[in-house]
Symmetry: C2
Subunit: 395 residues, 2 copies
């Protein structure tokens, strides 16, 4: 018989998806140019030309049998080595290829990392606001996800609540910095304090507590912002990376899991990830995409538009009267909604102003809304009067 | 703490892998040209040029932001529609895009299909000899895999044993035709008989029994062989396909799950597969690979070498005295070993003759060995005297 658990899920579209679908439907009626769609985190700048050139070169010059042949389940050795080299050079680390597992972007890296270090009945802690897909990633392992409420004055970690929630059943902490949806980057002070607490608790509980660090926005950090390389500050860190945002390849599903060489059982965790894949039918990312991504490990797309857009939106929205913490990176910001029910607030913006923003409830942080500004600067500028109108509807 | 289940698996390399690794190690010593490696199912003919041309065209002409953007989790609508159209045209079916779920090759299609129709404690039946990865695919859902012993005189289904094993807990039957490792194709008579039994048992048990049909070798069928399109003969069929073998793209991880429109809850199963992905971090295959594969849906690589190699090997090996059932497709054959312990037999072939073949034990069919003849015809011809020497070691 069909699996009732998955069947019951099919009815429930995500809230973000509902706004996105509304935008497309309304756009079909009145023209997409009249829709101000700030709902989706799709990069708006092209992949570096190096990647495109390398793909074409591989297709034109390599023996197709060899080019398209199976990759080992941990990833191509050359790609794993190149990822290690790039991380070592940029962040002063000492990864080898044995610490790198190639994945289908961050989703797969997170799902593998969580399966490596948890089992049925374990507990994983994350911090609101957080990416809603953390729920299936964590519950898919049989573990339980505990969410620490946001510190909405800074969007750094709410340590008071965190320390209350720690218990010997907690095997992993899942963090995302730079953060979707807040745009906030955890500071060196925040990560250092987190690391100190975890080390003390590891000693107390007698087992490691792994820090699973979801870093798809690592390369999108604005000028002057303190953005530490998290693995450097805590030994038992598993970094989960995606090339989706930094080089604008979201559809090509490529990323990696990098286990800190100082992590307990570091190399074993990578080998375990290869075993985990066999159960989910995941296997590794396509060979040609792995090969081509090697050419852009030390590059990013031209990400400057995101900072330009952030600067305009932050300046204008705070001028209008919106309250928010200034983003340090990503292409999101997370202002307070002007009424308690952010869902109602966002639907009103959509229906009365064709301004598509999404409620913070999806990120377990009600009373806020997310603006995704991976759009043209022209659209950002044209949307300012709409944000002003929206403000006047409430104040 | 790290997950002990996956940890314990890391020590256990597959037997096939051990032979493959031995071949590479020995080849490094004495030259790869002196190793007759028949251990691995990697296609030896190139992808159709159409695919390569389409990839290059996409890279050269499409807007990179659009080209590399997210695919919906069920797959690109145009690709799903094109897969449905191609199946309808070639097999007289009536799929729509709503019956198609794009996957990372057959592994992912099988893992999703099994999760759709089973839950903890259910039972899935398969037939020896079978692909050893079926164990993690099935146990990954929480179900139990029951293996029906082979009918080694024909390698069609052992119906006597099958009927004894059926019980109300069985939710799915997992088949693979053309078969790895036997090379046998299930005949229309076999599938019709299977379908009749399943329909009767569905009525008796009051629930559907899904036929999960693993079809990566569907397009590799030799002249004159009866090779029915399985979904045509049984309503509740979920076809799991891969482009790995038919168009020689194993490393690019692309395939699909096609749910028979006549299947109970057909469209719902596809929607459920999209939900299942969220738990495993799988997501859909890369956008560019989906787009490019559309161009080769009605094509195959030049597969004629596999039939040439089969003809030579079948003729020469039976002349020498080996016993086997003649393959109807794939690029495998599965003769009887010349001693009871096929494992010992294969290691002797490797160590004394540099002839790399793998024991049937991995496929739960001891006393046999698999020859993968996706190699050059020259290598096949040069290996015949070695098979002759091997025979003489025992007879």
């Amino acid at each position: 018989m069909i699996n009732e658990f998955y069947k019951d899920m099919t009815g429930k579209g995500s809230i973000i998806r509902q706004f996105f679908d509304y935008a497309n439907k309304k756009g079909a009626e009145i023209g997409m140019e009249n829709i101000y769609n700030f709902s989706i985190g799709n990069p708006s700048v092209p992949v570096p030309q190096t990647f495109t050139d390398r793909m074409i070169e591989l297709l034109q010059t390599e023996d197709p049998v060899k080019l398209h042949s199976y990759s080992p389940s941990l990833g191509l050795p050359s790609t794993r080595q190149a990822v290690a080299d790039s991380l070592n050079k940029r962040f002063g680390m000492n990864y080898t290829m044995d610490h790198i597992f190639m994945t289908s972007a961050a989703a797969s890296a997170l799902a593998h990392a969580l399966r490596c270090v948890t089992k049925d009945g374990d507990e994983v802690i994350t911090f609101a606001p957080y990416f809603p897909e953390y729920v299936p990633y964590v519950t898919g392992t049989g573990a339980k996800l505990t969410v620490i409420p946001a510190d909405i004055t800074t969007f750094q970690i709410n340590f008071e609540e965190f320390e209350k929630s720690l218990n010997p059943n907690v095997q992993a902490i899942l963090i995302n910095s730079p953060n979707n949806p807040s745009g906030i980057v955890y500071s060196t002070a925040t990560i250092t304090k987190l690391a100190d607490i975890l080390r003390a608790k590891e000693k107390e509980y007698g087992h490691p507590i792994y820090l699973i660090s979801d870093e798809p926005y690592r390369e999108i950090v604005f000028a002057g912002v303190d953005a530490p390389f998290i693995s450097k500050l805590y030994e038992n860190t598993i970094c989960c990376y995606s090339f989706s945002k930094s080089v604008s390849l979201p559809g090509e599903r490529i990323g990696y899991m990098a286990v800190n060489p100082a992590c307990e059982d570091a190399k074993l965790l990578v080998l375990m990830a290869g075993q985990i894949s066999r159960f989910t039918g995941h296997n590794c990312p396509p060979s040609i995409i792995q090969m081509a991504v090697e050419s852009v490990l030390d590059q990013t797309s031209d990400l400057s538009i995101y900072e330009t857009n952030k600067n305009i939106l932050y300046k204008e929205l705070t001028r209008i009267g919106y309250e928010m913490v200034e983003p340090g990176g990503t292409f999101y910001m997370f202002p307070r909604a002007l009424t308690e029910d952010a869902n109602e607030f966002c639907w009103r913006a959509a229906k009365e102003l064709n301004l598509i923003i999404v409620p913070g409830d999806s990120f377990l942080c009600p009373g806020h809304f997310r603006i995704s500004y991976c759009v043209t600067t022209d659209m950002v500028e044209k949307a300012i009067p709409l944000f002003e109108k929206l403000y006047k509807l409430y104040r």
